[in-house]
Symmetry: C2
Amino acid sequence: MAVYTDIAEDDLKWFLSEYDAGSLLSYKGIAEGVENSNFLLHTSKEPLILTLYEKRVEKTDLPFFLGLMQHLAARGLSCPLPLPRRDGALLGSLSGRPAALISFLEGMWLRKPEAKHCREVGRALAQMHVAGDGFELKRPNALSIDGWRTLWEKSEARADEVEPGLQHEIRGELDFLSAAWPKGLPAGVIHADLFPDNVFFLGDQLSGLIDFYFACNDLLAYDVSICLNAWCFEKDGAYNITKGTAMLEGYQSVRPLSGEEIAALPVLSRGSALRFFLTRLYDWLTTPEGAMVTKKDPLEYLRKLRFHRQIGSAAEYGLSL
Amino acid sequence: MAVYTDIAEDDLKWFLSEYDAGSLLSYKGIAEGVENSNFLLHTSKEPLILTLYEKRVEKTDLPFFLGLMQHLAARGLSCPLPLPRRDGALLGSLSGRPAALISFLEGMWLRKPEAKHCREVGRALAQMHVAGDGFELKRPNALSIDGWRTLWEKSEARADEVEPGLQHEIRGELDFLSAAWPKGLPAGVIHADLFPDNVFFLGDQLSGLIDFYFACNDLLAYDVSICLNAWCFEKDGAYNITKGTAMLEGYQSVRPLSGEEIAALPVLSRGSALRFFLTRLYDWLTTPEGAMVTKKDPLEYLRKLRFHRQIGSAAEYGLSL
């Protein structure tokens, strides 16, 4: 969580003059998002989020991300809506960086989500999958099987520092997933990072999804498996089947999963657990001590991966088959 | 600039239930204030700032700071107003820290203030000095002459690393100031840190003063000298007499300086330049490389100190005597 770039008031006013955003009353750098600098703006109209895209985001991906939010919001999904400039463009430039103005969503993310919230998340994820249909731009998932292998090669030599035997285990897992990864399942635009801090609630009501900066084209059921990993495990590592049932029922109330998708869930869940394990492992091994960043424990996802490996059928996730 | 403490939504709602603050819509950690954790809250009523006081702030000073803001706001100064709890207390507790809810001031601080803004700042500073009259609590200035010597002793041995000859120069300066420091000038509550980032403007209109966490009892004209140092020098180190004139005229339009105060301005300005030099020097020598904090160059204040040393009379600050 960081604000990387300071903005001068004059530059911001100049930037805003391209928009019909009202007059500026205040702006505060907010601790949200790891990849970008974000500011909360109060104006004489609605509050807005200003995002400056820092170097970790590929500039060529921005039309996909911003266009997707516009596409989804136009289809009724509650998500941040980019404000177009007077010339129609969604992207401007500020402090030497690509920058966008985006509607501010009220709501709070839940530190301790319950089963009823998982149901709402499942429903919203399915709504997003349905609403994404017809979006013209494409963005392949850089963090799917091929990407995992590339990422793994950067950490492989030091993996046993984290846990002895890890090198052997992950090599085997990658080989298994390469062979077993499902083909021909329904694909579309997925969020790919729908963790609790990216879902806002007002009371028990889901008020919106945010942070579409990992969104891409991939198997829809893979996105479901990411949410099972992100929402349905307890701090002690146990899978909470009540949450899993709620999540999957919520999802299927909007978009029923096919038999093939259901059968693939254990493999997909192994894949998504591995994906977060690998990025965390890489960060764990490369983030210098003392950098003011909270390192996330990669072993949390190794434990989830092992859980999915011993799953016999998707019924064990709480699905009534 | 940092947010140190995360808050769980449930804890925050529990905390807010002690206040008549409306229902919570969102809260964002904001990059404001170095000493504390600050959050911007949107509620069904007015937006609010939530401050968690971290360990660098003395708990016993909090009644002074919060009481002062209440006192000043009640006398018409535009500054953050602590919201009392239903039981009347200004201070609560959240995430194991003392915490307060404070009104949110719209406005922006100026990265490039002009003379007209300095005039407004001078006026507001004098308004604060007048409004502070009658405030019952006392807080001695820990960063006045005695405090400077204590601070200096922590950096003295390594001072010549920053600039050769510095040890000799600062020892002499401390001896001079101890002997020449004025006595008997009008005293009261001073802000003691009224830098540009603590003054908000809407357009060219000053909208409020913030950050009273260095406020204390000291000579009022010393506060004026802090503002001369903080507002009236250019990036190249030159004193901008147009800004100085505007600042002092603005101040005197509300509270005329006495002859003794005017005569003391060069010595007071040497003192306040030394005060910021010493804290910056200490931070410079003790902040580890790589800590995500912007180190402020202590030499900026050494140059200001040297400027004040060659001042013959306060007329050179732009005062028409």
